[in-house]
Symmetry: C2
Amino acid sequence: MSVGRGRLTQNEIARMAGVSQTTVSLVLNGRCEAAWRIAPETRERVLRVIRETGYVADPLARRLLQQHNQILGVFTYESVFPSTSVNFYHPFLSGIEACAESIGCDLLLFTSAPVSGGSRRIFHDNNRIRLADGCVLLGREIPRDELARMVAEDMPFVSVGRRDDAYLPSGKGGPVPHVGADYAQATAALVRRAVDLGHRVMAYVGAGAGPESAIDRLAGFTAAVRETGVDGRHEPADGRTRAELLDALCSARVTAVFCEELVEAVAMAEAARARGLSVPGDLSLLALGDPTEQAETDLDFTGFRIPREDMGWQAIEVLDDILHGRTSDHQRLLPCELVEGETLGARGPATGRN
Amino acid sequence: MSVGRGRLTQNEIARMAGVSQTTVSLVLNGRCEAAWRIAPETRERVLRVIRETGYVADPLARRLLQQHNQILGVFTYESVFPSTSVNFYHPFLSGIEACAESIGCDLLLFTSAPVSGGSRRIFHDNNRIRLADGCVLLGREIPRDELARMVAEDMPFVSVGRRDDAYLPSGKGGPVPHVGADYAQATAALVRRAVDLGHRVMAYVGAGAGPESAIDRLAGFTAAVRETGVDGRHEPADGRTRAELLDALCSARVTAVFCEELVEAVAMAEAARARGLSVPGDLSLLALGDPTEQAETDLDFTGFRIPREDMGWQAIEVLDDILHGRTSDHQRLLPCELVEGETLGARGPATGRN
DNA sequence: CAGACGCAGTAATACGAATTACGGGCTCCG
DNA sequence: CGGAGCCCGTAATTCGTATTACTGCGTCTG
């Protein structure tokens, strides 16, 4: 019945029941005010035909008029189900799915978006975002202009992960609704913990730039370092071998290294081991967040966990709020859970508060 | 632009460009035969307005006429992204997503289907399957009547996992398109392997009934046992404690146990250990397929791996064939990869061929 | 010079369901 | 007995796009 002319339509049902299409529509979803106008006998006749044929209304035609169809889009700037490695996005989707189910919505995964210039784009010709009532955006980095355009065009959406305000060249745009992880707080908490354990010279290894998540980590590091009055340096880790980087850190007497990515932490541990340094005996290593790429290691890194599932859930909550015009907080930062690993050790005599 | 009256429509574009809606439509997607009718100058004018406004055609209205919209549905009879445990479905989705991306289709996850009587149902009032051009069905067990109805209604679909033919009480229905794992062959291969290693008395533990996957495993077991002429019994494992079951197996001198589920195998290993039996020294254990539920174990079970990702990919391939009227094989069984674990040991003097 | 034909575009219609406006038949009341 | 009011339902319209049929105008041809 789905393809071709043989489709089962309301008109068809009407013909079978000997009534008009309007009547069928009313019987199906007329609210009390309108439905009581149909005689019970007619109503039964229509319902019987519907039961017999198993007719269900075409969601498309319905949406065309109603402007909403209980479908939420999910746009990912990377592959949602990568075959390689542990999947960073899976927990987000888990939360998204659970919440969508709880509010009775279907999920549309935009897998068709073509990859251009390394990343996908929402706004390509023939895109289908408008099929959804609103959508959720996933990705480490999302082009600013796309976000701005979403805001400017009043397309209901929520970003998973904090995003800065976005504006188009024309000046249109504004704040971006998001549900993010509070990287700054989590990183700062780790710094304070290291200080408590006696560390006085520490370094942040990683770009600390680009995606908001990286910026926030570095910001949290910088703030906490200033607050506690210890020495904290930023090592971009670009264009140098890991050994060179380690050289620099050692000669600066750094005792705790905060790695932006888990892979970075793993590589540092490897380099330290190669040089005969023990972790955390000689050097403490901290990993700022869950692994985004596969990394082979048997070390249990100290760091924090991103509340990915909860972020997914709340993103849908916010989206639902937006769609229903509820003005709750549309920018949320969720606390991360600190992970007491084995790569952060005590340092020097002072183990008490700074 | 998405909600409310301010929507950008072809009519709007037409007004701005000073032409008719028809012209806009023709410029946008008139194929050569029709498009050459538009003067280049007019065409440019329309295109400019489209570029400036960023207009994209509403996929809904388009689909209403064209009968297809590059959306494939995914219906799961269990939660797709369960928060607990390893996710059995994840690899299927991985393959599905990859193939969908390769053919330029979006994926619609029917998360809104209400759970009634323990499992979801496709055909509930207000379902949205019809929004998709076709769909993929996932689940260990899928109600026969739902399958039959899909067939009867000519709704293009493919089941992931082998399915028997399905008929409605009315007699409508027929063969069910599917891409399954060849459980029978894989199980038979394991039996032959055990025979090669000297085993002469073996047992199949599990229902061996219900879902096709269970039926096929038992069928493969039974066939291989008959073929090789060894002793093979079926232990349904219901209503008995694991210890009682082990008693029965021991007194029957069973040396190799084929477990339908990994959890079952883990439990058996536990029971054997409790009784002082070594695996595989005293008893060989085989797990027939990947874990569908979380199971804590450090044993590396002998068994086979289901080509889940490939199944997902090929399911979409078949669906695409169906949608385009290509009559390839719509029922496929994919071979499983044998896993050389550590729970199948040699038995007795004869290690050569039977 | 009438009719055929090409050009460049438009009016009309269809898709399937929801909604608004209307209409025929009946009863009740003044 | 005429019209107000109700009952039960239908015709018409709407959503946004694609397609088909058509139209006015100029040009070419027999």
